[in-house]
């Protein structure tokens, strides 16, 4: 299939891995930032083919995983109300809140629906003028333009029954936080190519000046990922720390300027809570005053007032810092599985724990696998 087969080519991937093996002289730890990258690394088994010097750790770029418990609780409160059609991307529905998840709300009679685009939610609002339609606007910069467009359209159409529950976070602040935190063992980053397709990578140039690490804009298929690893390792071996683009077919330095303009029209930067990390200053989006009417927290003040403290059981913090792998968690695969997740990293297929559970469980339990 065009644009897929050529980037999933086994021979080319192995050739790139061979080149990594030829230049690597010491151990390096790379973080792939995006959950989609983690998923594909584990699904293709790329991590098992890399030279043993290279350790990949799995970054915070899974929007489902970093959405704070409090917002899930707010979503559940809103979705439980009569007269509300609550819409969401599919994988948010299984994220556990303090009590229950959105699937449970649906089972109790709430109108919870999966949509593929927030514009479908806008259409639902048009078709159901007597219902309040709420969209769970979760995600990084990747989903922000579409979410912004839905609000922009709703305002243009004069809809009074559409709003979004905003849980938008952005990549540069969390990378900065990781670089400034103690003990974080990351030598280089594979930057999240789809975020960069929207935002470009000019923002990262400043970050690399103050915090010198290789930052390679990386795609999602095995050939893309292997190339990202190769370029990052080459920088490390040559003592360079630069922003490089290994995903030229999708990413330019400036990014999608129309998308950025739309984000800026609808959203402004704000402090955001990250699940388990706490609040990072100016790390996400909130609706601008001109669009405040479309904020579900304005429309449902009782839900907005919900405040949830998170308990501390699981070790995702250390996983995020590269100190531990999902398999180091005593609950992993035992009390915590994709059908009974203890934490959000086990829920989304992009979460590190879920990806390990689905694709990597056996290697970690030291069974030797040979397919002659």
């Amino acid at each position: 299939m065009k644009y897929l087969d050529e980037y999933r080519d086994g021979a080319l991937t192995r050739q790139l891995i061979q080149q990594v093996a030829q230049i690597v002289t010491r151990p390096w730890t790379l973080m792939e930032v995006c959950g989609g990258q983690t998923h594909n690394i584990l699904k293709s088994g790329l991590d098992t083919l890399l030279p043993s010097e290279i350790t990949l750790i799995h970054g915070p770029g899974c929007p489902v995983c970093v959405t704070p418990l409090e917002l899930v609780d707010k979503a559940i409160a809103i979705a439980s109300r009569p007269n509300v059609i609550f819409t969401s991307y599919g994988d948010m529905l299984r994220v556990p809140g303090s009590s229950g998840d959105l699937f449970s709300v649906k089972a109790r009679g709430g109108d919870v629906r999966i949509v593929y685009s927030p514009l479908d939610a806008v259409r639902l609002a048009q078709a159901n003028p007597n219902k309040q339609v709420v969209f769970f606007a979760v995600g990084f910069e990747t989903t922000a333009p579409a979410n912004a467009m839905s609000v922009f359209q709703a305002k243009r159409l004069g809809l009074k029954n559409y709003s979004i529950l905003v849980s938008h976070v952005t990549v540069p602040p969390i990378l900065k936080a990781l670089l400034e935190a103690d003990n974080v063992l990351v030598d280089g980053f594979l930057a999240p190519g789809h975020v960069n397709a929207v935002m470009g990578y000019w923002e990262y140039e400043e970050l690399v000046k103050t915090h010198p690490v290789p930052m390679v804009i990386t795609g999602f298929e095995p050939v893309d990922l292997a190339r990202g690893v190769l370029m990052a390792v080459r920088q490390l071996e040559e003592g360079r720390a630069e922003v490089e683009n290994a995903y030229e077919r999708a990413v330019t330095r400036e990014g999608n300027s129309a998308g950025q303009k739309l984000i800026d029209e609808v959203f402004m930067m704000t402090d955001r809570k990250w699940r388990g990390i706490g609040t990072i200053p100016m790390s996400g989006y909130a609706l601008r005053d001109a669009y405040r009417d479309y904020d579900a927290e304005t429309r449902f003040p009782d839900a907005a007032a919900i405040s949830t403290e998170e308990s501390s059981i699981c070790i995702s913090g250390e996983i995020l810092k590269g100190l531990k792998k999902p398999t180091h968690c005593p609950a992993f695969g035992k009390t915590c599985t994709p059908q009974n997740p203890l934490g959000a990293t086990m829920v989304s297929s992009e979460g590190a724990c879920a990806a390990y559970y689905r694709y990597g469980r056996l290697q970690e339990s030291n069974v030797t696998l040979v397919l002659e």
């Binding site: 989609g36 098992t48 599919g90 995020l320 059908q339 009974n340 297929s349 056996l362």
Partner: protein, 355 residues
């Protein structure tokens, strides 16, 4: 702006959600949640030696008659009721015919229960029953008992259909989930994921250049063609809910063997692959309604494959892997780039990813 460093320690976890207090959609998905429900709720209350066969159909003998019968029941709840390649009526025949056929039996008789929702268009009901009758005649099965109930508007989804099928197993045939042996060969009868993606792309209004058609079809004549070559077939499953991944995991567990497959050997239609890429789904987890997975001894593999390819429903049949004596209960797949990974049982409902 605060200059305080964010805390990266103690990344936290919500309260465990071990048990749902109510039934959720995932309990019907053909994955682990459904397996748990059967194991912990249904099986302890209904257990007997026949049900314990855990096959697509159950084999039993009628006292004094010799020979064995196969019986299976299935309920059909699908939206939309009409879809490219079929409708709920055709599905209700073929689904049960296939479950009976997977024990090697020739399906003969079906019973049917229709649950109709108040407000269903009589025209639609007529189309469905017409299609149901046509599919029964095509499959050579007789409808021998039938029931109709009507529920209040809002208490059904147009039409629900239950069918139960009975068939006769030819002497010398012994097909069961427990029969896979190391060195056996694994075959599929065609492309994976067609039915599930036909329904999903319709339901979600995804616009594609080409329409994906459901593969809904009765497989018993294909099974008979395979049995004409040899009775030495170890396992047969039709890869419905949970797709190929669920079938392979169930067979690996039931037979206490390992399974190793080649990802690149598994046929998938380009349009199905595209739809899966858009939704972030894996075609090996998506439902089929006219495809079977067969496990046969290596010595019989080529002959069975040839027989399948001669049959209209097996033209794209192919060998996808083998049974091994290592890692019992675990399915491994060699990826396109040559690595090995686990192909696990699906958990609950297939959820499209955010990005």
């Amino acid at each position: 702006m605060s200059s305080e460093k964010p805390k990266l320690d103690g990344w936290t976890c919500p309260i465990p959600l071990k048990h749902y207090p109510t039934v959720v959609m995932g309990h019907g998905s053909g994955g682990k949640m459904m397996a748990d429900l059967i194991e912990h709720l249904f099986a302890p209350l209904l257990e007997n030696e026949l049900l314990a066969q855990y096959g697509d159909s159950t084999l039993f003998e009628v006292a004094g008659q010799g020979g064995r019968l196969a019986i299976s029941t299935d309920s059909f709840v699908i939206q939309p009721l009409f879809f490219p390649g079929g409708d709920i009526g055709r599905l209700a025949i073929n689904g049960t015919v296939n479950d009976v056929a997977m024990s090697g039996a020739t399906p003969l008789y079906l019973t049917v229960g229709f649950i109709l929702e108040e407000g269903l268009l009589m025209d639609d009901l007529g189309r469905i029953v017409n299609s149901f009758g046509t599919a029964a005649r095509e499959a050579g099965v007789k409808i021998v008992a039938a029931d109709t109930k009507v529920v209040n508007r809002g208490h059904g989804d147009g039409v629900f259909i239950n069918t139960t099928g009975i068939g006769v197993v030819p002497p010398g045939v012994n097909i069961a989930a427990q029969n896979a042996r190391p060195d056996d060969v694994i075959l599929v009868s065609g492309t994976m994921g067609d039915h599930g993606m036909a329904i999903m792309s319709l339901r979600e209004g995804l616009a594609f250049d080409s329409t994906i058609e459901s593969d809904c079809a009765p497989l018993h004549t294909l099974v008979q063609a395979m049995l004409r070559v040899t009775h030495d077939i170890h396992c047969l499953r039709d890869a419905t809910r949970g797709g190929l991944a669920a079938v392979l995991n169930e067979l690996a567990r039931a037979s206490r063997v390992g399974v190793e497959i080649e990802e690149t050997a598994i046929p998938v239609q380009p349009a199905v692959q595209s739809a899966c890429e858009m939704l972030g789904l894996d075609p090996f987890y998506v439902a089929n309604e006219g495809k079977l997975v067969a496990i046969v001894p290596r010595a019989q593999a080529e002959a069975v494959l040839e027989a399948m390819r001669q049959h209209p429903l097996g033209r794209q049949a192919t060998i996808i892997g083998r049974v091994v004596d290592k890692h019992p209960g675990v399915v491994l797949t060699r990826t396109r780039i040559g690595a090995l990974r686990v192909m696990d049982m699906p958990a609950g409902e297939l959820l499209p990813r955010i990005c």
